[in-house]
C-alpha cells in the first residue's frame, strides 16, 4: 500500500495553498462570499487556475498537469481548513470525473481542457443522498423536462451534467448554463459556504451526451470520489477547529485560570485530537486508493473515510462551539461556519450510517 505520508512536493503544495487561502479565504472574505448569490469570486477562481489547482486533477493529454488524487486531497484538506468558497468539488471532482469516465475524446478535450484552464465550471445532478437510482429528468423528443434539487453549484455552472431519461434512453446529458428553458434557483442552504441549486428543465435542448459508460455507473463512481474528497475536506476542517479550540482554551480565562487547564476542556480537546488523527488516516488512505485505482479496496476505503471523517468533523466543530461558550454561539464568531460546513459534509451524498452499510457490504459482513 502507498505510504500514508506526503512527499516534499506535496508538502510544498500544501504550504502554497495554505498561504493563498489564508489571504484569500480569510473569515471576512468567506463571509462576503457567503452573502453573494453565486457563492464564489471569479477572481479567486482564475487565480487558483493560474496556480494550477484544477489542472492538477486533469490528465496531461487534456491540457491538465496530470497529478493525481493525493494532490487534490491535500488541496481539499486546505479547503476544509479555510472554508474555501468555490465550485471546486462540483467542477473538479463531480463534473470532471463524469466527463473523464463517460465522455468522448472530443468531449474530454473540450470540457476537461476547460476545467484545467479554469475557463469552465461544471455541475452534476448527482443524487444528494448518494443513492444512485432513476433519473430526476425526463427526455421527450430529444428535449429535457424535470427538476433536480441539491445540485452543487448548479446555479453558476457553465455546463451541467444532467442525469435524464429512462431505460435504454437513460444517460448523462450536457446542458449549457444559459440554455433555453433552464431555470436555476439557489436553495436555502444551512451551510452558506457551499451553494446548492434547484435546476428546472422545461423542454431544454441538451448540447451533448456522455455515452462512454452507463449513467448510473458513472454517477456511482462520481459519488464515491466525492465521498473521498469530502472526507479529506472534513479532516482539514477538524484540524482547524481543533486548533481554534486549543487557541481559545489557552487564552480564555475563567476562575483565574485558562479554561484549557481544566480537565473538562483539556480532555475534550484530547478526544478531538484522537478523532482528527483517526479521520486523517482514513481520508489519506482513501485518497491513495483512489489514486491507485484499486476499485476493490476503494469500496472499503471510500465508505470508511466518508463515514469516519465527516462524523469526526461534525463532532469536532460542535465541540468547538462548546469550548467557546456563548461567543461560539454568535453569528459574528466563525465557529458556526465550520459547524455548518461539517454538518453539510456529513449529510451530503449520504449520512454516515449509509456509508457504513456500504462498507459492510464491501468487507463482507
Amino acid at each position: 500500500m502507498k505510504p500514508l505520508i506526503f512527499t516534499e512536493e506535496q508538502d510544498l503544495l500544501r504550504q502554497t495553498a495554505r498561504k493563498f487561502l489564508d489571504a484569500r479565504s480569510a473569515p471576512e472574505r468567506v463571509r462576503e462570499l457567503m452573502d453573494t448569490g453565486t457563492g464564489f469570486a471569479q477572481d479567486d477562481w482564475n487565480e487558483v487556475a493560474a496556480m494550477g489547482w484544477q489542472a492538477m486533477a486533469i490528465p496531461e493529454e487534456y491540457g491538465g498537469a496530470g497529478y493525481g488524487w493525493v494532490e487534490q486531497s491535500v488541496l481539499f484538506e486546505e479547503h476544509g481548513r479555510a472554508l474555501f468558497c468555490a465550485p471546486y468539488l462540483s467542477t473538479v471532482v463531480l463534473g470532471a470525473s463524469a466527463v473523464e469516465l463517460a465522455g468522448s475524446e472530443e468531449q474530454r478535450a473540450e470540457l476537461l481542457g476547460g476545467v484545467a484552464s479554469g475557463q469552465r465550471r461544471l455541475a452534476v445532478t448527482a443524487p444528494a443522498d448518494g443513492v444512485v437510482g432513476g433519473a430526476p429528468v425526463e427526455v421527450r423528443g430529444g428535449a429535457l423536462y424535470g427538476t433536480a434539487r441539491f445540485v452543487l453549484d448548479g446555479h453558476t455552472a457553465d455546463t451541467l451534467v444532467v442525469h435524464a431519461g429512462t431505460g435504454g434512453d437513460e444517460s448523462l446529458y450536457l446542458v449549457d448554463g444559459d440554455a433555453d428553458g433552464l431555470t436555476r434557483e439557489p436553495m436555502d442552504v444551512m451551510d452558506l459556504t457551499r451553494k446548492q441549486a434547484t435546476i428546472t428543465l422545461d423542454g431544454t435542448q441538451p448540447s451533448g451526451r456522455l455515452e462512454g459508460a452507463p449513467a448510473r455507473d458513472v454517477l456511482e463512481a462520481v459519488v464515491t470520489r466525492a465521498a473521498v474528497l469530502l472526507a479529506c475536506e472534513s479532516a482539514g476542517l477538524s484540524q482547524r477547529v481543533l486548533e481554534m479550540g486549543v487557541e481559545y482554551a489557552r487564552t480564555r480565562k475563567q476562575f483565574g485560570r485558562a479554561i484549557g487547564s481544566f480537565q473538562a476542556i483539556k480532555h475534550g480537546l484530547a478526544d478531538v485530537l484522537v478523532g482528527t488523527e483517526s479521520a486523517k488516516s482514513a481520508a489519506y488512505h482513501a485518497a491513495r486508493v483512489l489514486q491507485e485505482g484499486d476499485g476493490e479496496e476503494l469500496a472499503i476505503a471510500a465508505p470508511m473515510a466518508k463515514a469516519r471523517a465527516t462524523q469526526v468533523a461534525y463532532e469536532a466543530a460542535a465541540y468547538n462551539i462548546q469550548v467557546h461558550g456563548g461567543i461560539g454561539f454568535t453569528w459574528e464568531h466563525d465557529a458556526h461556519l465550520y459547524f455548518k460546513r461539517a454538518k453539510g459534509a456529513q449529510l451530503l451524498f449520504g449520512v454516515p450510517s449509509a456509508w457504513r452499510a456500504r462498507l459492510a457490504d464491501a468487507v463482507g459482513f
Binding site: 436555502d188 442552504v189 476562575f255
Partner: protein
C-alpha cells in the same frame, strides 16, 4: 398550616370574585386587568399586601391562575416580561426598599415596563463573579462603564437588573454591587446580538459613563453577589413549571422526520428508539422530581435534569437532521437576521431547532459547570484547588 391554607383560600376566593366583578376579562383591557389584579394582591400571592400579594404561600398561585384563566384572563405578561416578573419581583421584595418596591412592582406586573437582566459579560460567563463592569461612586450617583451580554429583551426594556464591580481590591465575590438601571439613560447602548440561527434573541449592552442614582441601588454596597443569587434562585422557579406530554419537544420532530424520510431503516429506528427512551425517561425524572418536591423529599433527580436535557436536546436535534438526510442541508426560509417575535410559543422548524440547541449546553450554566455542581453539591466530591479565592479581584488573571 392546613388551617392557614384554608384561611388563605377563603380570602383568595373573595378577591378573585372581586377582581372578576370589577374587571371582567371579556371587557377589560389586559393592562387594566393586571393592574387591578396587582392591587387586589393576586399578582404574586406570596408578596406582602400592597406589593401585589397577600403574604400567602406561593402554592396558591397555581389555583389563582387557573381560576382567572378559566374566567377568560390571560397571563401574557408572565411570559413576555418573564425576567422582571419571574426574577426581578422577588429580588425587589427580598432586597429592595419600600420605595423601590412601590415604584417598580406594579408597572413590571402590568407590563407597562419591561425588565432585563444585566449579569453576564464577555469576560464573565461561567465565572459570573469575575465580572468587570465598574461602578464608581460620585456623590449620590454611580458612574457605570462596561459591557453586558446575552441580555434578552434589553432593546424594549425600561429597567435592567445590573451587577457591577464597585471594589476591585477585595476578593471577587465581595466587591460587587447591584443596581436597577434605567435603560433610557444616556450612555446605554443596546445592540442586537445575532446568533448562529441568524436571529437576535439577545443583546449586547454597552455602558459608557452611565449615571445611576444611588437610590436605585438594591442592597448594600458590596452585597451584589447575594442579591444576584436571589435573582438567580427566582430564575429556577420561573423556568420550572409543568411537565410536557410524552413525545413532545425535540423528539416529536425526530419521530416525524423518521416516518417521512427514514421509515424502514432499522438502524435509524434503533437510534430513534434510544433517544425516545432517554427523552421519556428524562420526562419521568422531571415528574418524579416534582412529586418528590411536593412531598417535601426532593432527591438528586431534579438536579440532573438541566444537564440531561441539554445534552439530549442537542443529540436529538442533530439526529433529526440525519433523518432528514439531504433535506437536513437546508434552512427553510433562510437566515433572515430578524429579532424573533415576542411570543412565548414559537414553533421553529427542526432545522432551526437544531442550530438553536447548540446553546442548550452553554446557557443557564454550561454542561461543564452543571457537572461540577452535580459532582460537588450532589455527590459531595471535593472541589479543585482555587487560584481566585482570597485574592483581590484585580490580581486574578483574566
Amino acid at each position: 398550616m392546613s388551617d392557614q391554607t384554608t384561611d388563605g383560600r377563603a380570602l383568595i376566593d373573595q378577591r378573585i370574585q372581586q377582581l372578576l366583578d370589577e374587571a371582567p376579562p371579556a371587557t377589560t383591557d389586559d393592562q387594566e386587568f393586571w393592574g387591578r389584579q396587582f392591587d387586589l394582591g393576586l399578582a404574586w400571592i406570596q408578596f406582602p399586601e400592597g406589593k401585589g400579594g397577600l403574604g400567602l404561600s406561593p402554592r396558591h398561585q397555581k389555583y389563582i391562575d387557573k381560576e382567572l384563566t378559566d374566567a377568560g384572563a390571560n397571563f401574557r405578561n408572565k411570559q413576555l416580561n418573564l425576567i422582571g416578573i419571574g426574577m426581578g419581583g422577588g429580588t425587589l421584595v427580598a432586597h429592595g426598599t419600600d420605595g423601590q418596591q412601590d415604584r417598580w412592582l406594579r408597572p413590571m406586573w402590568t407590563m407597562e415596563e419591561f425588565w432585563c437582566q444585566l449579569f453576564s459579560e464577555p469576560g464573565a460567563g461561567s465565572d459570573l463573579a469575575g465580572l468587570s463592569t465598574s461602578a464608581v461612586q460620585d456623590g449620590d450617583e454611580w458612574i457605570v462603564n462596561g459591557q453586558k451580554v446575552w441580555t434578552t429583551i434589553a432593546h424594549i426594556s425600561r429597567w435592567g437588573m445590573l451587577v457591577t464591580r464597585t471594589d476591585p481590591d477585595v476578593p471577587k465575590h465581595a466587591g460587587l454591587t447591584y443596581f436597577v438601571v434605567d435603560m433610557e439613560s444616556d450612555g446605554v447602548d443596546v445592540r442586537p446580538l445575532y446568533q448562529i440561527t441568524g436571529e437576535a434573541e439577545f443583546n449586547e449592552v454597552y455602558f459608557d459613563d452611565v449615571h445611576i442614582p444611588d437610590e436605585n441601588r438594591i442592597g448594600e454596597v458590596g452585597q451584589g453577589w447575594s442579591v444576584s443569587m436571589a435573582t438567580l434562585m427566582n430564575e429556577r422557579v420561573a423556568i420550572g413549571g409543568g411537565t410536557p406530554p410524552r413525545g413532545s419537544g425535540a423528539i416529536s420532530h425526530a419521530v416525524t422526520a423518521f416516518k417521512e424520510h427514514a421509515a424502514g431503516d432499522d438502524v435509524a429506528r434503533d437510534e430513534l428508539a434510544r433517544l425516545w427512551i432517554e427523552a421519556e425517561a428524562l420526562r419521568l425524572t422531571a415528574l418524579r422530581a416534582s412529586e418528590n418536591a411536593k412531598q417535601g423529599t426532593p432527591g438528586p433527580e431534579g438536579s440532573t435534569a438541566k444537564l440531561n436535557w441539554a445534552d439530549l436536546n442537542k443529540e436529538i436535534s442533530s439526529f433529526t437532521m440525519e433523518l432528514l438526510g439531504s433535506e437536513g442541508m437546508l434552512l427553510p426560509g433562510g437566515y433572515d437576521f430578524s429579532r424573533p417575535e415576542l411570543t412565548a410559543n414559537r414553533t421553529p422548524s427542526p432545522h432551526r431547532l437544531f442550530l438553536r440547541a447548540r446553546a442548550n449546553s452553554i446557557e443557564g450554566g454550561t454542561s461543564e459547570i452543571m457537572r461540577n455542581i452535580l459532582g460537588e453539591r450532589v455527590l459531595g466530591l471535593p472541589g479543585e484547588p482555587r487560584v481566585d479565592k482570597n485574592v483581590p479581584w484585580k490580581q486574578v488573571p483574566r
